[in-house]
């Protein structure tokens, strides 16, 4: 038996709503539960509007939680929490944003952008120490320390995204949520940023949650993947297991649509359409079931039975 791994982050029955005026609130995330183990890269995959970003933002406490709990090392971090815990969570959980053109403060120098978290936590003794920490963070992401005196618009997209990574790193985080960190970058730059993230993970034993819609990237970088559709998780498994044995029809559809950069294969590919009305949930409500060890899927009794048969 493998040793029980430490759960770093746990999301229990999470619900996120957005209120639009007097109308009924829009439910972005509905009853989502998963665990993230220390040291792994957990992928969260879904199409636009699926609620994947809302989950990430709830975990860094930008979005309010309408129901359920978010636990960090077993402690609840949503809602009202003590000042010490708030401080710890602010420091230990960091986020990398999607669009490096929008996520850096254009009117501040790189020095301030990278050091912003340090100012907030007063994690340094002297100005010299702060500067040294900024230089270190810049070097760690492959930028030169002299870039500190420049403004973001002087950098290319890839460099800006690395500044965003440096800003998170300087806090000495344990858990980083990367929300589509490479989807707005050019192909030639994506690899740089992906490599940087993996390298940092090894050096600093970081845990990642990688939010993405591009399955080829997800397959390369994640250890486990959860697939989300319309605010609900539909499947969760080890990455290779999920790609080898997708069970939920939505997952199968999504996998069938992944573009393959090869003319012969891409033109021969057959897309499996997904019909959300294909489920018969009128009588038997779907449940979140562990079909085989570590492979979870959403389905009612009949579907689960079929999935088990398919795996057997």
């Amino acid at each position: 038996m493998p040793i029980e791994r430490e759960v770093l982050m746990e999301v229990k029955n999470l619900r996120v709503e957005f209120k639009g005026g007097s109308k009924k609130p829009f439910v972005a995330v509905d009853d989502v539960s998963f665990k993230i183990y220390r040291g792994e890269t957990f992928g969260l995959v879904g199409e636009s509007g699926s609620g994947k970003t809302s989950i990430g933002r709830a975990m860094v406490r930008i979005n309010e939680v309408a129901g359920g709990e978010i636990l960090f090392k077993g402690q609840r971090i949503n809602g009202l929490i003590s000042r010490e815990l708030d401080r710890e969570v602010t420091q230990k959980i960091q986020m990398i944003f999607q669009d490096p053109m929008a996520s850096l403060n254009e009117r501040a120098k790189v020095d301030y952008i990278v050091a912003e978290g340090l100012y907030n936590t007063k994690a340094y003794q002297s100005e010299a120490e702060r500067k040294a920490m900024v230089s270190q963070a810049l070097l760690a992401v492959g930028l030169l320390p002299e870039f500190a005196s420049r403004f973001p618009h002087e950098f290319s997209g890839g460099q800006r995204q690395r500044i965003g990574v440096a800003r998170a790193l300087v806090m000495q985080p344990e858990f980083i949520i990367a929300d589509e960190p490479i989807s707005s970058l050019d192909v030639s730059i994506r690899a740089q940023v992906l490599n940087l993230l993996s390298e940092l993970q090894q050096q600093r034993s970081l845990t990642y949650m990688f939010i993405a819609h591009d399955l080829s990237v997800v397959r390369f970088i994640t250890d486990r993947v959860a697939v989300i559709n319309r605010g609900q998780l539909v499947e969760l498994a080890d990455t290779e297991e999920l790609f080898a044995n997708p069970l939920h029809p939505y997952t199968r559809s999504l996998l069938s649509a992944v573009p393959i950069p090869d003319p012969a294969l891409e033109q021969a590919k057959v897309i499996i359409p997904y019909d959300p009305l294909g489920h018969d949930y009128a009588v038997h409500k779907p449940l979140w079931v562990e079909v085989t060890p570590k492979h979870f899927v959403l389905g009612n009794a009949a579907e689960i039975k079929e999935y088990r048969q398919r795996l057997a």
């Binding site: 930008i62 602010t90 960091q94 999607q98 850096l104 501040a108 912003e116 100012y119 936590t121 806090m171």
Partner: protein, 311 residues
Amino acid sequence: MEEQALFVLAERDVADAERSGYSDYSYWGSTIRVFMKNYAAVFCLGLLIVLLVFIMVQPYLPAQRDPNEIHLSQETFRQLRNVRPGAEFWFGTNSIGQDLWARIWSGTRTSLGIGIAVASWNVLIGIIVGTLWGYVRKLERVLTEVYNVLDNIPSTIIMTLIAYMLRPSISTMVIAMGVTGWVPVSRFIRTQVIIIRDREYNLASRCLGTPTGRIITRNILPYLVSVIMLRFALAIPGAIASEVFLTYIGLGLPLHIPSLGNLINEGRQLMMIPVMRYQLIFPSVVVSLITISFYVMGNAFSDAADPRNHV
């Protein structure tokens, strides 16, 4: 062929490519550079500086008269009324024999002073209230209600009422225009704040635990510099116009404090007599120059302060 020698693999550090192509940049430096390229605006700025310096030193120049002194004829000892512009009185005299040249520059001093004071106050309070209103969600309800109440009272009525209740003086004018003048500014700032408050870079700052005060001063306000400057530049002539209006309805400054408002008002009364029109034209020209200059300059500066226009 010597080119042959070049067909060997180059030994160069690929990391050099990272270093290339960037220049030193400073926000204010670029802003000023872009502004300076707009010749109309630079001309207006020059004009305003000259005007400002001139009205400061004018009383100390030789052969200047007191703006309130009533000039009497040496022979008849009667007031030199409505003397037309000439060598003696450059801009002529008014209907009780005061020197218009002296009165116009003294009036410009007063009016510009009022304009700058009112504009600074309105923009300052507008920024403070507007950012809190736009950014701090807890205050949103309260401030919206306060705004609704204040906005529904016509500001001219408040202004007139205050100017009517208090003794006419410069400070009365400033108070009358400042008591509600900030309300539209704060609304404007609030709208601007709402537009940028949920941008990703602000979410990033919130993730890092940056306190609201610093988000406002470091993330929000720097983005609003250009619109605030434009608003400020337009508020100065706006305040001068209000002063003219208050004077017109008879609540302006007393005649012994010349201002562009009461000069125009006096000139207006003589408007129908062609030979006396100079009494309206001179102060009007000054007001127009000030208004146009601030407008042109404000727009140019607001463009220049937008980093999208920097190269």
